[in-house]
Symmetry: C3
Subunit: 345 residues, 3 copies
Amino acid sequence: MSLPLAELARYLRAELRGDPDHRISAVASLNRAGESELAFVGNAKHLAALSSTRAGAVLLGAEHAHGYAGNALIAADPRLAFARAAELLHPPRRSAPGAHATATIDPAAVVAKSAWIGPHSIVEAGASIGERCQIGAGCHIGAGATIGSDTNLVARVHVGERCTVGSRCLLHPGVVIGSDGFGFVREDERWVHIPQLGRAVLGDDVEVGANTTVDRGALEDTVIGNGVKLDNLIQIAHNVRIGDHTAIAAQVGVAGSAVIGRRCTVGGQAAIMGHLEIADDVHVTAASLVTTSLREPGTYSSSFKAVPAQGWRRAVARLGQLDGMARRLKQLEERLKQLTMGSKA
Amino acid sequence: MSLPLAELARYLRAELRGDPDHRISAVASLNRAGESELAFVGNAKHLAALSSTRAGAVLLGAEHAHGYAGNALIAADPRLAFARAAELLHPPRRSAPGAHATATIDPAAVVAKSAWIGPHSIVEAGASIGERCQIGAGCHIGAGATIGSDTNLVARVHVGERCTVGSRCLLHPGVVIGSDGFGFVREDERWVHIPQLGRAVLGDDVEVGANTTVDRGALEDTVIGNGVKLDNLIQIAHNVRIGDHTAIAAQVGVAGSAVIGRRCTVGGQAAIMGHLEIADDVHVTAASLVTTSLREPGTYSSSFKAVPAQGWRRAVARLGQLDGMARRLKQLEERLKQLTMGSKA
Amino acid sequence: MSLPLAELARYLRAELRGDPDHRISAVASLNRAGESELAFVGNAKHLAALSSTRAGAVLLGAEHAHGYAGNALIAADPRLAFARAAELLHPPRRSAPGAHATATIDPAAVVAKSAWIGPHSIVEAGASIGERCQIGAGCHIGAGATIGSDTNLVARVHVGERCTVGSRCLLHPGVVIGSDGFGFVREDERWVHIPQLGRAVLGDDVEVGANTTVDRGALEDTVIGNGVKLDNLIQIAHNVRIGDHTAIAAQVGVAGSAVIGRRCTVGGQAAIMGHLEIADDVHVTAASLVTTSLREPGTYSSSFKAVPAQGWRRAVARLGQLDGMARRLKQLEERLKQLTMGSKA
């Protein structure tokens, strides 16, 4: 695909400065872009690269445009416009409708004619695959599971029985939706398994990163809201509920029955304990541990930054002495008080 | 399946109050249960829902039963009884014995007649699959590996060559048993791989969550005891030994050659360093880091709870000043001592 | 395979004491080794086991050899020599060249005659598989992806389109190379996906542990240097660059655009934030969080060790009081100063 700049500007609602007929066929970084490519300036750090770019056109904000003599598309939010341009010029590869010869589709499954079922994929009885879905190689859609329309399971995605994935979702390789929740009751020293009977339910426009796991609910459902974005290697336990448009970075763990609000962000490797509530618009920084409900929007943290190990060991040792220091401080205050009273007397 | 309450009460060893002929066919939550469903009261928080439930019967403890007029099953441990009822009423789906046409089974493998081998699964030479096993879609049983009887590999489980999984185990999608341990020796700046020649050996009644990995031992074996429960995305390194009935929550990492006792619990995202020993009945809280042997039973912790980021930053900055504060405190004590001696003189 | 000790000594450049014709066919631990097996003494802790070993020969350093009367191979670095011996005596199982009947290989893929493509594996159009590669069961090599020579993908490895894996690499089950990076732009409350157009590029002699994920770059590439060793369940985000011979332990997360130097080591569960640089020869301890560039070689840390929970709770509470303690300390100093000046006056 290749477009004249005038058309691209219209599509992106950007102001065009330069040659309206110059054709663009791809996006690239400022450093690598050539004649037929569009690059972008996201912030002031990019300005050095801008001065030497050979890009056919550059997307930037008005504040960075004045000094640039080449073809320019000026947008209110250049990063957003660039994402749009990239989506337009680099549409995801789609396989033609139909099922690969090696796919195993149960006669009692319902697969839309416009969907593609890849090699070695399995669709079980009662499962339903929506219009224009791409079910990649080695996927497994369990009995009675439902996949909405225009959803893309890249490869090797497991959707357990009766679970639901919405429309326009993107699930990466190794994702497991609907594994059993970790539910046991102790009997003497043994653990007795509690059957996990709920479902995992993903809304529309959900993205799930590679090897992330979403457990099914115990009795009710695990629910991932619309527009939620989950990065790689995340654990979502049973009965968790995540509000719309919340984004969670890699390796975060969310324990059972936690309820997370809308538009939250959770930094990588953070952990959220179970049976608590997090309000809308809460932001948890990377590697922090949420142990109680967070009822107010805002940013929360409990992590330390790495420093040279020697200094760190000293600080950690001092932390162990803190209790004693607090007591000595109190004693000092008392003795000084007595002394002062004495000297006043 | 559907049972009269009298029979269910006998099976659960519960006391029945109400209609012995009322038939129950499923379990459900208090909020959702209908006429033919059994719900349960686990603790006082459930009492509000109890007052409005439409469940056909409710499982509860004697302390919560007095105010309830509906059909009731009174049990010493309602949660345990509920787990039993759920298991009885919702037996896991089983596929009929045999192998799917797309499974690849080496002629030199031994597969019990009562076992099921799912689509696109692979059983290599010398592997052995026990009675009534369910080997789900896309599983891979390596050469010489052994799977006990009544074990269920849900889907896409990898059991490496010569590894052993016991009886009545449940392994979820994406599990890897018997990947190489992370063993290298430095030679100048390069790392030389140390062949990993041991096995991973899982006992009976072990449950392993989605995408969890258990490395094989370097020379001896990695050993997971009977009744051990591992949640999702856990890493068990080479030569680790985990005692019977220990339960480990999601995303925990256990480093090489660590030995963990019986009946321990480890909270989510905790890390246990290598070459150390943890006694029986030790509990490690979520996100804690165990760096030394823990020889006494009890609860251990090293994690902080997330607080508003501004306050946290101040606390962290103070931690950096702690060394200086300790010195200033000491100075004050000395000066005050001198002063007191002076005033006494 | 079985070798006389004289030959093994020559191969390992070790000094032989004992019977040059004694044949060795395997390696084993001191406790388990028998007549035809080679064991090793890595450090003084092994000396107790040495005294009772029945190994046919023992590899050890000169400092441990004097008291041992059996067959001995004395090496400068016994651990390294042992790794070499293990590699020689236990070569990895190799399948014969060719493709399994159930493999799906696109006619437009280039597969070396000496390579093996396992059951249910998929090689897409334009992909290239080098000489003597072993592509295990259920692997997926995307369109245009390149695998160097002598590389071993154990099973169920996903290599996304256009990504590159070097020669002599070893990728374990569940590895995902080239999943999309986690790139979004906010538009009102929605997240707009930024197409991830770069590649993931792995050098030669790279090892990647089970279920580890390496995202492709956004515009440029994610680059893993030669000889890099990644353990299980690691997350490498888009545009990360890792220098040669760096080793990273399990469950580490590296966020987008981080640049890590050569010969670094990162302990398990550590997290490295995005858009920062780490110098060569930096070591990050387990469970630490790197939030800023580390420009000097050395060891960095930010983790605490687990202690009995009661004591820990007290220390954590004191940390919350630290701000107040600092203020009180300052007041004391001032009052004492006034007092001293007063008493001097």
